[in-house]
């Protein structure tokens, strides 16, 4: 095993980890900051990827240029999901937790069915984007451009989300999670706050979807490949902690890459899950969890 190989592995682990973090960013917001388990997270990612594909084919624009459009689109989707479903799920007085889980689970199945209905089961890819299949070499280490771009976008997205969470809106969001009834008493419209929160979460997923579409295949099932990792990332980082999700994403990416190198690759996810469980044994609230 050469040093080069190890370096290359560490690098791809890092790049992949940042992508996991990017996918988890939106989840961290919805899951961590609003305390709603969103089982349709992977499906939102899939929707974003299809949106990128369709717009790319329709407008001929490069995915990178589509970034704002898809983000806005997903923002709308997120708001709509909140207004149509989640607001209702939150207002039930009766085993709210489970209702949330299974409403989003049902939604996930529905979205998957819809994607199948409209796009069929074919695997699609975007090949003619600026970044597609491009790689730069640096001292014998290869850096794939689409992943690099995704990592940069990931860091930007986290910086942005972190900044937002520090604003007054961020505190209002936290307050709303703490006590959904009481915020009304001080003139905060909880549905608006949460709808925007969902919109932001979904927009973050939208960004992740665009970046993924640059180098990953697209199919109605694609969300499932990332969803579980996203949940684990958020839980490992700790609910309510954006920074935790970022670091957890990197940890998971590295663990995955390294275990694929030293273990049987088909068991690499076992390595990554085992690390997660081990951490939870010592820190039941994840690395940086507050909740």
């Amino acid at each position: 095993m050469t040093a080069e190989l190890i370096l290359q592995t560490l690098l791809s682990g890092l790049l992949m980890g940042l992508i996991y973090a990017l996918v988890a960013a939106g989840l961290s917001l919805i899951f961590g900051l609003m305390d709603v388990v969103n089982f349709a997270h992977g499906e939102l990612l899939m929707v974003a990827m299809f949106a990128t594909l369709v717009l790319h084919n329709l407008l001929g624009l490069d995915p990178l240029l589509l970034l704002p459009i898809v983000a806005v689109l997903l923002f709308g989707v997120g708001m709509a999901i909140y207004r149509l479903l989640i607001a209702r799920a939150l207002s039930v007085t009766f085993n709210t937790g489970m209702v949330q889980i299974f409403v989003t689970f049902g939604l996930a199945i529905f979205i998957r069915g819809a994607a199948q209905f409209f796009f069929g089961g074919e695997f699609r890819s975007i090949n003619n984007s600026w970044l597609a299949n491009k790689t730069v070499a640096l001292a014998g280490i290869y850096i794939p451009l689409p992943q690099l771009a995704a990592s940069v976008v990931c860091l930007l997205a986290f910086a942005l989300l972190l900044a937002i969470s520090k604003t007054e809106f961020g505190r209002a969001l936290e307050a709303t999670r703490e006590d959904r009834e009481a915020v009304g008493l001080i003139g905060i419209d909880r549905d608006r706050i949460f709808a925007i929160g969902w919109g932001m979460g979904a927009a973050a997923v939208g960004v992740a979807g665009v970046m993924l579409a640059n180098f990953y295949y697209i199919s109605p099932q694609v969300g499932a490949n990332f969803a579980l990792i996203a949940y684990v990332t958020v839980a490992l980082g700790g609910f309510g902690s954006l920074g935790g999700a970022l670091i957890a994403g990197i940890v998971i990416g590295e663990v995955e890459a390294l275990s694929a190198l030293v273990l049987e690759p088909s068991l690499k996810q076992v390595g990554m899950f085992a690390i997660y469980l081990a951490v939870l044994m010592f820190r039941p609230r994840g690395l940086f969890g507050r909740l």
């Binding site: 007054e168 936290e174 703490e178 006590d179 009834e181 009304g184 001080i186 003139g187 419209d189 507050r290």
Partner: protein, 233 residues
């Protein structure tokens, strides 16, 4: 300023309020008296838009019944709820500042902070502490402070002295009087009847969801049946 006309409210078919009519004039302290479960909290929550109701609620002559609670709050009606309902994981500072959230864009929106720290100096000392770790009395101060931050015109207090040590009880009643002096109208629910009646202008007596008596605070305090029923004398 506030007028209720045959207001009814129910929880899952259980009537908690039935045909309440009640008026609060600008600048008054009005207190509502009643046994446990009489519907006092429900009454305040109805006005704040947190309970589904029938009947009319008029604020400054405008019907506000059915309005969402945050809209009512923005009109200047504010409730310090039973059990305080703070945001326990946020700091004292954040709790207070969020009180002014609805007024974003108004440069003066944090002005009431001075008043709050003046009324409750303790809060000024604990700005960085998480609200959840405050002691009971401090939490009550914070709840009132947060309500003041919204610059209310009508402040409703639900049992502000509950769980408060005797020394602070008097402070809180004193604060209520001071707040009124600043031009805020007050609707007060209290179990410490004698104290409440001593600072109130007028009072209503609630029994199983109905108003059974109303009058000036002095009249009510003097009423034989009230003394028997609620003061245990």
């Amino acid at each position: 300023m506030l007028q209720l006309e045959s207001l009814s409210a129910s929880y899952r078919g259980l009537k908690a309020l039935q045909g309440i009519s009640l008026t609060v004039n600008a600048g008054e302290i009005v207190t509502v008296v009643g046994a446990n479960g009489a519907g006092k909290s429900t009454l305040l929550k109805s006005i704040a838009g947190q309970v589904a109701i029938e009947g009319a609620i008029r604020f400054d002559g405008e019907d506000i019944s059915g309005l969402a609670s945050h809209k009512i709050a923005r009109l200047g009606i504010n409730l310090v709820p039973e059990g305080r309902r703070l945001f326990p994981r946020l700091t004292v500072n954040d709790n207070l500042r969020l009180g002014a959230y609805a007024k974003r864009g108004d440069p003066d929106r944090f002005k009431p902070l001075d008043l709050v720290f003046d009324l409750f100096p303790r809060l000024g000392e604990r700005l960085k502490q998480r609200a959840g770790t405050l002691s009971g009395g401090e939490q009550q101060m914070l709840a009132i402070g947060r309500a003041l931050m919204t610059q209310p015109r009508l402040l409703m207090l639900d049992e502000p002295s509950q769980g408060i040590m005797p020394r602070l009880v008097d402070d809180i009643f004193a604060a209520v009087v001071r707040i009124r002096a600043l031009g805020v109208t007050i609707l007060l629910v209290e179990q410490r009847l004698s104290e409440a009646l001593s600072i109130a202008d007028r009072a209503y007596v609630l029994q199983t969801g109905r108003v059974v008596m109303s009058g000036t605070a002095a009249e009510i305090a003097a009423d034989e049946s009230v003394r028997k029923a609620y003061l245990g004398v």
